[in-house]
C-alpha cells in the first residue's frame, strides 16, 4: 500500500529537519555570529554605564526643540515602539496621511517645501535615519534651543552622516540618535 510506506519517511524526515533547521542551524549561527560579530548580534545596543539607552540601528522619538527629529513613526501605542514595529499603511488618498504630514510641517515651523522624508512615516516605524536635507533644515532650531553655533550642530550632523555604500548602494543618510548623542556629549 503506497500510502503506508510513506508514513515512516514523513515522520522521520520531519523529525530530522526539525532538529537540523530548528535546532542545530540557528544555534550554529548563534555561535558563529556571537563570536564574530558580538555587538551586532546583540542588537548594536548603546549603553551609558550599565543602562541601555538605545540601539544605533533603531530610531527614537524626538519632539524637544534641542534634538534633531527623525521620520514620523506609526507604531502604537507610542511612536518608535521597537516592541511592535508598524508602518502607517496610509494609501495616497487617505486624508490621515495629509493630516499627519501637515501637522509635522506646522510643528517644524518652516515655510516652503520640506524634504518628503520629514513629513512621512517610515515602513518599520523605527527608521533611525533622515536625509541630509531634512537634518540641515533643523539646524537653526537646534542651535537656538541649545545656544550653540550652527557650525557646531552641523559638525555633529556631518559626523553622523553615511554615504551610499561604495558610492552607489542606498541613500545618503543621517543617524538621528547619533547626532543627538553627540549634541548631548554622550558620543564623540
Amino acid at each position: 500500500m503506497s500510502l503506508l510506506k510513506h508514513i515512516q519517511p514523513t515522520l522521520a524526515s520531519l523529525a530530522f529537519f526539525t532538529l537540523l533547521f530548528g535546532g542545530a542551524y540557528p544555534l550554529a549561527t548563534l555561535a558563529i555570529t556571537q563570536t564574530a560579530f558580538h555587538s551586532q548580534a546583540e542588537g548594536s545596543l548603546i549603553r551609558n554605564g550599565n543602562t541601555v539607552i538605545g540601539s544605533s540601528l533603531i530610531g527614537q522619538n524626538f519632539t524637544q526643540p534641542q534634538y534633531l527629529w527623525g521620520r514620523l513613526s506609526a507604531t502604537g501605542p507610542a511612536p518608535f515602539n521597537a516592541g511592535a514595529s508598524s508602518g502607517s499603511n496610509y494609501g495616497v488618498n487617505n486624508p490621515a496621511l495629509i493630516e499627519a504630514a501637515t501637522a509635522r510641517r506646522e510643528a517644524m515651523g518652516v515655510s516652503g517645501p520640506v524634504p518628503v522624508d520629514l513629513i512621512t512615516a517610515s515602513g518599520s516605524g523605527l527608521d533611525p535615519h533622515i536625509s541630509p536635507a531634512a537634518a540641515d533644515l533643523q539646524v537653526p532650531r537646534i542651535a537656538q534651543a541649545r545656544g550653540l553655533s550652527e557650525a557646531k550642530v552641523r559638525s555633529a550632523i556631518e559626523a553622523s552622516t553615511e554615504q551610499p555604500t561604495l558610492g552607489l548602494l542606498g541613500e545618503p543618510r543621517v543617524n538621528v540618535l547619533q547626532v543627538n548623542l553627540r549634541l548631548d556629549g554622550k558620543q564623540k
Binding site: Q8, V52, N94, D117, G170, N180
Partner: protein
C-alpha cells in the same frame, strides 16, 4: 532623468541585474549536479549524513516513484508539516525559549500561519515580535522555510525528469525519481550552506542573532523604549533564499534588525531571485540543451526589468497630495519607505519580491502610489512565474511553455511538442487547471470580502484602496506570495480561514497537475526534432511565451485592477 528616474537608481538596477545573472549561472550548474546526484564539492562531507537519514527514514534512494507515488509523498509530507507546525503554534505558551511569555495562537491564526508556511506562502496574519516565541520562530517557521522551498524544487526536478528522459534511455519509464532523496539533497546541499553563508554576512551588517529577552532602553528624552530581539539572522537568510518572505518582525525587511544597511538590502534582494533564476540554468543543463534554459531566463527578465523600471518611475513621481501639503517634489513617495533604501531600492524590492513568490517587503506596499502598487499586484497575477517561487516558479513557467507550444501549434497547424515530447490532450487539460484554478478563488474571495460585513471590517484605507487591499491579499495568498497591502486587518477568522484556503488551492492545484504532466511525459517517447518542429529557444518563441503569460494575466484581472488601482490613481491625480 529618463522616465524621471535618477542616474543613481538606474545604476543600482543595472548592478542588481548584473550580479543576479553572474551568480545565477554557476549556482544553476551546481544545483544541476546536486539534483542529478552527481559528485560535487560537498559530497565528501554530506554523503555520510545522507546515508544516515535514508536509513532512519527506511528509504532506498535508488527506488524511484511514479507521479502518483511522488504526489502522495508530497501531500503526506506537507500534511505532517502542517500538523506539527499547527500544534507548536497552539502550544507555544508552554514551550521554551519564550522569554516574552507569548501565549499560544488562536486556532484560526495558527491554521493560517501553519498553512502559510507549509505552502511556501508565508503570509503574515501574525505580528512577529508581538505574536511568536523564539521557539516558534526557530523550530516552527524556520524549519518550514527550508522544507517548503525544498518541496518546490523537488517537484520541479520531477518535472524536469519527466521532460528529459528519452525512450532510448534505460530510464525510459514512468518514474520521476525519489521524493525523499530529492528533499534531503536540496536541503543539505543547496539551502543549508547558502543560508549559513547569508546569515553570517547579514549578521556582519547588524542583523541580530540572540536568545536574550527584549531589552528596555531609556531614551534620550527619558521614555522607555522596548526593543524586540531574537534569533533573526538564521531565519532571515532562509526567508530570503527560499522565496518564503514571512518576517521575524511585523514590518519584515523594513525593520532595521532584519535589514540594517544598503549592503544587507542588496544581498537580500539578490537572495530573493537567486534560486528561481538559477534554476533556469539548472533546467538547461539537466535537459541537455542550455539554450532552452536561457530562453526561459530571458522571458522572465524581459517581463521583470520593464515592470521594475515602471515601479521606480511611479514611486519617484510621488504623491501630488503630499507635494501640495509641502513636500519637496524631488523626494518621491517616501510614505512607508526607509531612508537608507530610498525610492530605488524600495521599488526594485517590491518588484523582485512579487516576481518571485517571496513576499517579504522592505517598504509598505499599501502606501505605494496606486499604479506603483499595481506593479507588484500584476506580477503576482501572472501566476508567480517571473522567476517565481523556489522550484514552483519554473514549474509554473513550464506550464505556460506547454500552453504556448499548444497555442503556437494550433496557429501553424502542427501537433504540439516540447523537447521532443508530444503534448496531448491530458497535458493541456492539466496545464489549464494549473493556470486557471488559482485565479478563481482570488476573484470569488475578493467579492466575498467587499460584500460581507466581516470582510468589510478588515478594509483599512477608504475607497478603492480598501478594495485593492482585499484584491491584493487574495492574489497574494492564491499565488503563494505572502506580501500584503498591510493595512488590511487580516487576523480574524474570516480572513485567516479564507486566505488559508486560497493558499492551499494555489499550492496544490498547480503542484499536482504539474506532477501529473511530469508522469505522463516521462512515459512518452522522445521524437527527434524535424523541420516541422517548433523551436522553443528562439527570440520569437520567447515573445510568444511572454504574450501568453501577459494575456492570461491581464484578461483574468483587468476588471478588478480597474476597480482598484486605476480608480485610486484617477482620484489621486484629480487633486
Amino acid at each position: 532623468m529618463l522616465f524621471g528616474i535618477t542616474p543613481a537608481s538606474w545604476l543600482q538596477l543595472a548592478l542588481y541585474m548584473l550580479v543576479l545573472t553572474a551568480v545565477a549561472v554557476p549556482l544553476g550548474l551546481y544545483m544541476a549536479r546536486v539534483l542529478s546526484g552527481e559528485r560535487n564539492l560537498l559530497t565528501p562531507i554530506l554523503a555520510p549524513v545522507e546515508k544516515l537519514i535514508y536509513g532512519a527514514c527506511n528509504v532506498r534512494p535508488e527506488q524511484e516513484m511514479t507521479w502518483k507515488d511522488y504526489a502522495t509523498a508530497v501531500i503526506l509530507f506537507s500534511l505532517g508539516g502542517f500538523i506539527l507546525l499547527f500544534s507548536l503554534l497552539l502550544a507555544q505558551g508552554s514551550i521554551p525559549p519564550n522569554p516574552q511569555n507569548l501565549p499560544g495562537l488562536t486556532p484560526d491564526l495558527a491554521f493560517n500561519t501553519a498553512v502559510s508556511f507549509v505552502t511556501n506562502t508565508n503570509w503574515q496574519s501574525y505580528g512577529g515580535e508581538t505574536t511568536l516565541s523564539y521557539f516558534s520562530q526557530m523550530a516552527g517557521l524556520t524549519v518550514q522555510n527550508f522544507v517548503s522551498a525544498a518541496v518546490g524544487i523537488a517537484v520541479l526536478t520531477a518535472l524536469i525528469r519527466g521532460l528529459s528522459r528519452h525512450s532510448s534511455d534505460r530510464l525510459a519509464t514512468d518514474k520521476l525519481g525519489n521524493f525523499w532523496v530529492d528533499m534531503v539533497r536540496v536541503n543539505l546541499y543547496i539551502l543549508l550552506p547558502l543560508s549559513l553563508i547569508l546569515a553570517v554576512l547579514l549578521a556582519s551588517q547588524g542583523v541580530i542573532q540572540t536568545l536574550e529577552p527584549y531589552v528596555v532602553a531609556k531614551t534620550l528624552e527619558g521614555a522607555d523604549q522596548t526593543i524586540a530581539l531574537g534569533p533573526v539572522a538564521s531565519q532571515e537568510a532562509i526567508k530570503m533564499l527560499g522565496t518564503n518572505g514571512g518576517g521575524f518582525f511585523n514590518t519584515n525587511s523594513s525593520h532595521p534588525f532584519e535589514n540594517p544597511t544598503p549592503f544587507s538590502n542588496f544581498i537580500e534582494m539578490i537572495s530573493i531571485l537567486i534560486i528561481p533564476a538559477a534554476l533556469c540554468f539548472t533546467f538547461g543543463r539537466m535537459i541537455g540543451d542550455k539554450r532552452q534554459g536561457i530562453a526561459i531566463f530571458a522571458a522572465m527578465t524581459l517581463v521583470f526589468v520593464p515592470m521594475t523600471i515602471a515601479c521606480i518611475g511611479l514611486e519617484q513621481a510621488g504623491n501630488p497630495h503630499l507635494i501640495a501639503a509641502g513636500a519637496d517634489a524631488a523626494g518621491g513617495n517616501m510614505e512607508g519607505k526607509e531612508t537608507r533604501f530610498g525610492i530605488a531600492n524600495s521599488a526594485i524590492w517590491a518588484a523582485a519580491t512579487t516576481a518571485a513568490s517571496n513576499g517579504s517587503v522592505n517598504s509598505m506596499h499599501d502606501s505605494f502610489t496606486p499604479l506603483g502598487g499595481a506593479i507588484p499586484m500584476l506580477l503576482m497575477k501572472f501566476g508567480e512565474v517571473i522567476y517565481g517561487g523556489a522550484g514552483s516558479g519554473l514549474y509554473g513557467m513550464l506550464i505556460f511553455v506547454i500552453l504556448t507550444v499548444f497555442i503556437a501549434g494550433l496557429m501553424v497547424g502542427r501537433s504540439p511538442e516540447y523537447l521532443g515530447k508530444k503534448i496531448g490532450a491530458f497535458e493541456i487539460k492539466m496545464a489549464s487547471i494549473a493556470v486557471l484554478f488559482p485565479s478563481a478563488p482570488v476573484l470569488i474571495c475578493t467579492a466575498a470580502a467587499v460584500l460581507t460585513a466581516p470582510g468589510q471590517a478588515g478594509l483599512y484605507n477608504p475607497g478603492p484602496q480598501g478594495f485593492s487591499e482585499a484584491l491584493y491579499a487574495f492574489t497574494s495568498a492564491a499565488n503563494n506570495n505572502g506580501s500584503a497591502f498591510a493595512g488590511l486587518g487580516a487576523n480574524n477568522p474570516f480572513y485567516n480561514s479564507l486566505l488559508g484556503l486560497c493558499m492551499l488551492f494555489g499550492r496544490f492545484f498547480v503542484l499536482l497537475p504539474v506532477l501529473a504532466i511530469a508522469g505522463s511525459l516521462a512515459a512518452k517517447k522522445t521524437v527527434p526534432a524535424s523541420a516541422g518542429t517548433l523551436p522553443t529557444h528562439t527570440p520569437l518563441f520567447v515573445v510568444v511565451l511572454i504574450g501568453t503569460i501577459v494575456l492570461v494575466g491581464v484578461l483574468t484581472y483587468a476588471p478588478a485592477l480597474a476597480l482598484g488601482p486605476v480608480i485610486e490613481h484617477l482620484n489621486m491625480i484629480k487633486g
